[in-house]
Amino acid sequence: MIVASPKPVTELKEIVAAHDKILFVGCGTCVTVCLAGGEREVGIYSYAMRMARRLAGRPIDIEQVTIERQCENEFIKDLAPAVERNQAVLSFACGAGVQALAERFLNRPVYAALNTQFLGILEDQAVWTEKCLGCGDCMLAQFGGICPVTRCAKRLLNGPCGGSTEECCEIDKDRPCAWQVIYKRLKGIGQLDRLEQIVPPKDWRPAWHGGARKIIRQEHRV
């Protein structure tokens, strides 16, 4: 899932400062699940924004709506009348959703309310961790399902660095050393021999280094 976190109210205030009639759009998919941009957050930030603006002597009129997925045109298109009614849109989606709206509604500014963080999972209630970098060339099979590209601070592919202490990363004492996790995992599934193989330097071409990526799959094209 895409994990995002809300921007501080102060920042949002500045972002929408120029408008006094605005549409807050929540997204019902990833950011709802990661408790950052669902109906509830849209509600809370609407209250906060309205109060902040009233205190500043410039009341703002906020319309709230949460759609199923902001990255899907089928859902976005229904927003058109609401967008038309307002001066601008504050999107509570991930960066993809924000851009989807921006590209669809050409004559209205679309702002992001969230900081889109990473692809990750819910580790514990309200604790999210990054698990995938989206490098475009997945190597998880080799590492017992634990991604050193994402979870090793140095992205080492052939074992831990010398800084790993007490199973923890030298960058962050609270973060487990990815290679420690990989070792335990491979030991558990009886594949320690994989560690014997030398992994060649990673091909980063499928990753974002070449600019925004695009995938076309003809079998699904209509």
Partner: protein, 159 residues
């Protein structure tokens, strides 16, 4: 009892007839029972508080606290069971964190965190309930009216 408390607006003489309005979200098992007991014991406390009954402080939605303040309530008291004593195990702990979060937002937007407070008490702690009510009434009295009150709309609202 203490005459000063029967007239909470007295210390804010320059604010004329203003009396703080406080909403107390009370959980069913402790705080509401404590408030009830305070009444049964005929204890006197400021009449500025209006109790909203909730099954558990863990049910109190953040929007509702914000809504109360936006509607012009001068202060909000979230009253739950003692920590560790929640009938629903940790509803009050969740409420505590939510209250902290909203206090942060209130500071950010300029209303001030002090208008919102969470207290913990058991069903038997009627005097504590009374004391906490007095405290928030005093605090809010000193803060003055909620700047979002309709009547405070005109002119520049400073904080």
């Amino acid at each position: 009892m203490t005459a000063a408390h029967t007239q909470p607006g007295a210390s804010a003489a320059n604010k004329g007839a203003w009396e703080p309005e406080i909403i107390a979200f009370c959980c069913n098992y402790c705080a509401y029972a404590a408030a009830d007991l305070a009444g049964a014991q005929r204890m006197q406390y400021p009449p500025n508080v209006r109790v909203v009954h909730s099954p558990c402080t863990g049910k109190i939605e953040m929007e509702h606290i914000l809504a109360a303040l936006e509607k012009g309530i001068d202060g909000v008291l979230v009253a739950g069971c003692l920590e560790g004593g929640c009938h629903f195990i940790e509803g009050n702990l969740r409420a505590k964190h939510r209250v902290e979060h909203i206090r942060g937002i209130l500071d950010e937007i300029g209303i001030g965190a002090d208008r919102l407070r969470m207290v913990n008490l058991s069903a038997a702690m009627a005097p504590t309930f009374v004391e906490r009510v007095r405290e928030i009434v005093d605090t809010v009295t000193n803060l003055g009216p909620n700047p979002l009150k309709e009547s405070a709309q005109q002119g520049v609202v400073s904080k």
